[in-house]
Amino acid sequence: MAELTFREAVAAGIAQEMERDPTVYFIGEDVAAAGGVFKATVGLLDKFGAERVRDTPISEQAIVGAAMGAAMTGLRPIVEIMFSDFLATCWDMIANQVAKTRYMTDGQVSLPLVIRTANGGGSRFGAQHSQSLENWAMAVPGLKVVAPSTPADAKGLLAAAIRDPDPVLFFEQKSLYGIKGEVPDGEHVEKLGTARVLREGKHCTIVALAAMVPRALAAAGELDSLGIDATVVDVRSLVPLDTRTILREVRKTGRLFTVEENPRLCGWGAEIVSIAAEECFDDLDGPMVRITTPHVPLPAAQPMEDEAMPTVARIVDTVKRAMR
């Protein structure tokens, strides 16, 4: 096992797959010579050359569209959209073209294509560079959606996304790029659509994603000392969604909390709560509560941004009060 940062693990995942499969190509803005603005693709140009690792103009529609056309005709492209906020500038390509073309042609084309993007807040970049937008993708049929929380998963889930025969949106939380963790040596591939139980408790189940996972774990630690024993589940993949694992854990504890970085309305938390409300209502012992950023654009200044996003303190406090 090597200790890697999250950003190194991303580069390692791409490198592993590009080595294995000559049809994997990687394009994006400033990704080649510069190694990406988050330095998550450093070294790839040197390893794989300028044909397979290419800088593009600032043309998000053309970038995603080009990847789609290439995926339809024999390549397995990886695209970087620098910040997930910029997905909006190519949303037609993603939501209307990439997501729907296989279905509309009744399976005549496959779209093995990965769109990687830096997601989320915590960098004091303001509302146009800080959004957590995994829910935009989740709401569109035809897209798979993945968001890892550790360096090992960054590598393993990215590798799985690249091997997947369908389009995958891969969200890399900016606030995680610097964290370090053990990453298995040699080929490492995870399985999409599998949640991971990180902690088993008796009293409630806290479900979290990406940067909210370490916070949920820290909160569970504090709650323990208050006599509340919480299960913590890392969702990892929103589509496919591992409802089997999630519902099993909810049933065991009878209480569900979700921790979402995104703004309040229509997030993945609402989806999971709604599934539980329909499918395990009788196992519930009390209200299900979502912990989210308020429904506002994210402010830039450090104290405001820190307070807006779900903090460990707010998770602890919310769970404590709801469990009273």
């Binding site: 053309a62 290439a70 073209q97 084309v109």
Partner: protein, 327 residues
């Protein structure tokens, strides 16, 4: 000079087939058999035929909602096309796509896209793939005059030139974006040709109603792409004989304009040229008759096919054939 007789007959035959198919599509629509919409390319046949005849079998076509002709021109099944318009289970997409999305990947017809401009970068992407796979394939992308004003047009042209992609962009300037005259919403007279220089490209403005010209233009630009010299942007002047889509009587168009363009019908013109060039009238008549018969058969087959299957609703979202988003 121009193309040889065999090629000319092929061009003529294709145009007649596309014309007859579109006219039949109009008729079945009037019978209320087409439930959605349909956008006919009546009058624009020379462009589709010119390019299709010049293309290699494994080249890629990308077109729009006005794409029946482009798809059929690559050899896709007429019965499957008509079936798709009628929402039948024999449809090319088994009812999932409808008139605006005809696709036959086995023939290089890589799809009809219904959002203006969206297919342009996708076509560039297929060309990129051909380039790096060194397959020698070329992508041809058809779109309208109105499409030149959308952002995807600009992003695509720039990228295609910078990457020297083997792709030919063909603007079918039929003078209208839906009901609005193109000149009232465009900063230059020739929406594509006047912009070629913005991408370092030659301005190519041609008569889109002349099948020989279109064949020659297609051959030249495809050869350029195939030889690694990069993309071209062609503007072909043409005219829709009918409205924008089903039910549009196109009454916003000046009568004089319509009369003038109808007199320049690409098929009538070409038939006369062939006849005066020594092609036997009987031969032309046989092409006409065969086309009509082909369309009759295809229509019959589609009419008799059962409706699209409800059990297909949840299939083919994913490569495993299904649509499961959870376990």
């Amino acid at each position: 000079m121009g193309p040889d007789d065999k090629t000319r007959l092929k061009l003529y035959q294709l145009m007649v087939e596309l014309r007859d198919f579109e006219q039949r599509a109009y008729d079945v629509f009037m019978e209320n058999l087409i439930k959605g919409t349909s956008h006919l390319a009546l009058g624009q046949e020379a462009i589709a035929a010119g390019f299709a005849v010049a293309m290699r079998k494994d080249d890629y076509t990308f077109c729009t909602y006005r794409g029946h002709g482009h798809t059929l021109a690559r050899g896709a099944s007429m019965a499957a096309a008509m079936g798709e318009l009628l929402g039948r289970s024999n449809g090319m997409l088994h009812g999932k796509g409808g008139s605006m999305h005809l696709t036959d990947v086995t023939r290089g017809a890589m799809g009809s896209y219904a959002i203006v401009g969206a297919h342009m970068p996708i076509a560039a992407g297929a060309a990129w793939s051909a380039q790096v796979r060194k397959s020698g394939q070329v992508a041809v992308c058809f779109f309208g005059d109105g499409t030149t004003n959308i952002g995807a047009f600009h992003e695509t042209l720039n990228l295609a030139v910078v990457w020297k992609l083997p792709v030919v962009f063909v603007c079918e300037n039929n003078r209208y974006m839906e009901y609005t005259p193109i000149e009232s919403v465009t900063a230059v007279e020739h929406p594509a040709a006047d912009r070629a220089a913005a991408y370092g490209l030659e301005a190519i403005l041609v008569d889109g109603n002349d099948a020989d010209v279109m064949y020659e233009t297609a051959s030249r630009t495809i050869a350029r792409a195939r030889s690694g010299e990069g993309p071209s942007l062609v503007e072909a002047l043409t005219y829709r004989h009918g409205g924008h889509s089903r039910g549009d009587p196109a009454s916003y168009r000046p009568k004089e304009e319509v009369r003038e363009w109808m007199s320049r019908d690409p098929i009538k013109q070409y038939r006369e040229r062939l006849a005066s060039g020594g092609i036997d009238e009987a031969m032309l008549r046989k092409i006409d008759d065969d086309a009509r018969q082909k369309v009759d058969l295809a229509t019959e087959e589609a009419r008799n096919a059962p409706p699209a299957r409800i059990e297909d609703i949840e299939s083919q979202v994913w490569s495993d054939g299904g649509s499961a988003w959870r376990n």
